[in-house]
């Protein structure tokens, strides 16, 4: 780190640690050399100019500059690394004050570690003495970020129907939003890339933590009778072998790329146009007193997120049983492991009619209805399955 020189020259000052007051580490500053540093104040990082002459500080307090005067006196601009400020670049929004013997700039929004702060102080603007001083500040977070990667993707079954509607990709930490479609692709087994399988719907579909990303396959290409299906055909062709590929360059919420890329291989079978039917499911009932899971065995892979949310177990008093849901065998098994040991008694497994299989066929209705055929009898209420635990 370099010493802070006084007049007019630009110096790279220092990378500060959160919560510390930092100054040039390798030299005791001359007592009358002002320094521009990050300082922790009221649980936030602010920029402070210290060791200014007392007379100047008093003159500032007396003058009480307006916001636009402060911005000329003490401009702070945020510039991406390796970049220069652009013409008429506005200042960073924030509030100025003389406080604790320093002139402080508190930005409205938190200091970002991904830009360089170009700070200037021009005492001449208020007729004060002292030369112009400048600094470039970069904040380096005290805690190094750990790398993010794909934890898993769904459906994890070896085969999927040609009219598969979506993938879920789960990450170990929050991701950046708004750039996802650049980093996910579908490849055939020969390495060729499927063109445009995912509609860019403008909004990305994430869970609240931005750790699970939902990728929809273009339903227009799946739906029968639509122009795009007739012209471009199915993205997934029955009999074909494909890979879902996630590019490691996808930035996480901190702006860092993934530790590594991700691939999931699968084969494609004929389209599935049938609604899932709970009557074809089997339930493995655990013993009273155990912590063994209650298991539902589906004849086909079901949508993971929906199975987790839309199937639940209640006891004889209609209280939901607390537990954790996991999947096995390519999401053909739904397992509920209870928090407390099972008590003997009557339970009800409740299944919401909006539960979908991989092709978007819901219990209550298939994904596509041929209206020229007889009306489909819809199941529109929750399906209850009685379970007795002994």
């Amino acid at each position: 780190m370099s010493r802070l020189a006084r007049v007019g020259s630009t110096v790279l000052v220092l990378a500060a640690c959160i919560g510390w007051v930092c100054g040039p580490a390798d030299a005791a500053p001359a007592s009358d050399a002002p320094s521009i540093v990050f300082v922790s104040q009221d649980d936030a990082q602010v920029i402070a100019i210290r060791d200014l002459p007392e007379s100047l500080l008093r003159a500032l307090e007396n003058k009480n500059p307006s916001q636009s005067e402060w911005q000329k006196l003490y401009p702070v601009r945020a510039v991406p690394m390796d970049d220069e400020p652009f013409d008429d670049q506005p200042n960073v929004l924030g509030r100025y004050a003389v406080r604790d013997g320093a002139v402080v700039f508190a930005p409205t929004y938190p200091i970002s570690s991904r830009v360089v702060y170009r700070v200037e102080f021009r005492p001449a603007w208020i007729g004060g003495e002292g030369e112009l001083i400048r600094a470039k500040l970069i904040l380096i977070p005290a805690k190094a970020s750990s790398p993010t990667q794909v934890a898993r993707a769904y459906p994890s079954s070896k085969t999927v129907p040609a009219n598969l509607l979506k993938f879920y990709i789960e990450f170990t930490q929050p991701m950046s939003r708004g750039v996802g479609y650049e980093y996910v692709r579908l490849e055939r087994s020969d390495g060729s890339i499927v063109i445009d399988p995912f509609p860019e719907i403008g909004v990305e579909l994430w869970d609240a933590h931005q750790q699970r990303f939902t990728v929809l396959l273009d339903p227009g290409r799946i739906k029968r009778g639509l122009k795009i299906n007739e012209e471009m055909g199915l993205a997934l062709v029955p009999g074909g072998a494909y890979r879902l590929v996630v590019d490691e360059a996808w930035p996480d919420a901190e702006g860092n790329p993934l530790a590594k890329g991700f691939e999931m291989a699968f084969k494609v079978t004929e389209p599935d146009h049938n609604s899932p039917n709970p009557e074809t499911w089997r339930v493995d009932i655990p013993k009273a007193g155990s912590h063994d899971p209650l298991t539902i065995r589906f004849p086909e892979t079901m949508d993971s997120a929906l199975s987790e949310r839309l199937i639940w177990l209640v006891d004889a008093e209609a209280n939901e049983v607390a537990g954790r849901v996991t999947f096995e065998k390519g999401e053909t098994r739904w397992l509920m492991t209870p928090e407390a040991a099972w008590r003997a008694g009557a339970y009800v497994l409740r299944i919401h009619p909006r539960l979908e299989d991989l092709a978007g066929n819901q219990i209550r209705r298939p994904f596509e209805i041929d209206v020229s055929e007889a009306a489909v009898e819809a199941v529109d209420s929750v399906v209850d399955v009685a379970v007795v635990i002994r």
Partner: protein
């Protein structure tokens, strides 16, 4: 008069005064002063009297903010339209981030004051700050303070899908919001079920928000009926009848009478008025009149703006009838508007667009309507 009568007449007088005050601003009553704490921000749109509706998708809430535009007077005809090169870089600079870290969600122009509003996220992580930016008619660009403002709010889809034991809940991405004839229509797309919900809220918000959670379907060749998420829509009047034109994640453009949306129906079939073809990813729409005819402009995420004439409108077909693919719709590509993402009307024959420029950054520009 005696004391009792005096007091009684005072009470009567004060009741009379407060009664008339409550009815003075029809749409602005029901608002309280307070601070709007946005968890996130998404689509925005203007209602009457300078009221800006703001969607907060994470909080499943719509806010109605009194922007004061009604009192600023009608400046839009006199003031210059908004032209700002690299508006994304300027906003990012003010907020202290790289322009790559700024997401601009939506854009709206106040027809009363001429001010332009942008809903943005500062950052791409889950904790990104939600900011509402205003560019005043005089050109000042700054965030809108949301402390101590007059506003009202309503919660969307506050029903069984939420919060059972803190497990992951359905998170809806809100794709569009518009004020239509006394109601706010909000389109949301689930991150789990392949469905979208079109929610209608009365405005002014009532104690029981009437949520018509209906599903939109469309038909192709009169045969296949499927659930169809609405990506963007725009209101329009066909004579005296209010409609919305809706563009989907699949391609057809459909029209839906607002009367059906606010009815008790659970399911609506939109009637297709145009098949927009491959690779069309509609972002925004604008209806305007030129030389006595009505036209629709659609902006696209993959470049290119389309224009189509709205008349003649096809009649609502029976389900089993064939729907012509391009009934009354010649689609023209408007090269001059290439790159336009969002579009708002401005003045008599113009529009203000949010447009991606050659360098990949975003400009606010004034254009003539084609």
């Amino acid at each position: 008069m005696n004391k009792t009568a005096f007091v009684a007449s005072l009470i009567l007088l004060s009741c009379a005064v407060s009664f008339s005050a409550a009815h003075a601003d029809g749409h602005l009553s029901g608002m309280e002063k307070g601070t709007i704490e946005l968890q996130s921000i998404g689509p925005i749109g203007f209602g009457p009297e300078g009221i800006l509706f703001i969607a907060d998708p994470k909080a499943s809430t719509v806010y109605a903010l009194q922007t004061g535009g009604a009192h600023a007077g009608s400046a839009s005809k006199a003031s210059t339209p908004h032209t700002v090169k690299e508006v994304d870089k300027k906003i990012a600079a003010m907020l202290g981030v790289d322009a790559k870290e700024l997401i601009i969600h939506d854009f709206a122009v106040d027809p009363m004051s001429g001010a332009a509003y942008l809903s943005v996220s500062r950052g791409r992580g889950p904790d990104a700050a939600a900011v509402l930016i205003r560019r005043s008619a005089s050109g000042e660009l700054a965030p809108v303070g949301l402390e101590d403002v007059a506003f009202a709010k309503a919660t969307l889809w506050a029903t069984p899908d939420k919060d059972r034991r803190g497990r992951d809940v359905r998170q809806d991405a809100i794709t569009e919001l518009a004020y239509v004839d006394g109601s706010i229509v909000v389109a949301g797309l689930s991150n789990q079920e392949f469905s979208s919900r079109l929610r209608v809220l009365d405005y002014p918000f009532t104690a029981e928000n009437r949520e018509t959670g209906l599903e939109i379907y469309h038909t192709a060749h009169g045969q296949w009926e499927t659930h169809s998420p609405v990506r963007t829509f725009t209101p329009f009047m066909d004579g005296k009848e209010p409609y919305i034109l809706a563009a989907h994640t699949c391609t057809p453009l459909v029209r839906i009478p607002v009367s059906e949306i606010v009815s008790e129906k659970q399911k609506i079939i939109g009637s297709t008025i145009a098949e927009l073809g491959n690779r069309n990813r509609p972002l925004d729409m604008l209806i305007y009149e030129k030389d006595g005819e009505e036209f629709l402009l659609i902006t696209n995420s993959s470049r290119g703006v389309m224009k189509l004439a709205l008349a003649p409108m096809p009649k609502q077909p029976a389900l089993t009838e064939e729907v012509e693919d391009t009934a009354g719709a010649d689609i023209i590509q408007i090269a001059a508007l290439d790159g336009a993402l969002q579009i708002e009307a401005w003045g008599e024959n113009g529009a203000v667009v949010l447009r991606k420029n050659e360098g990949g950054t975003i400009d606010l520009a004034h254009v003539a309507l084609p």
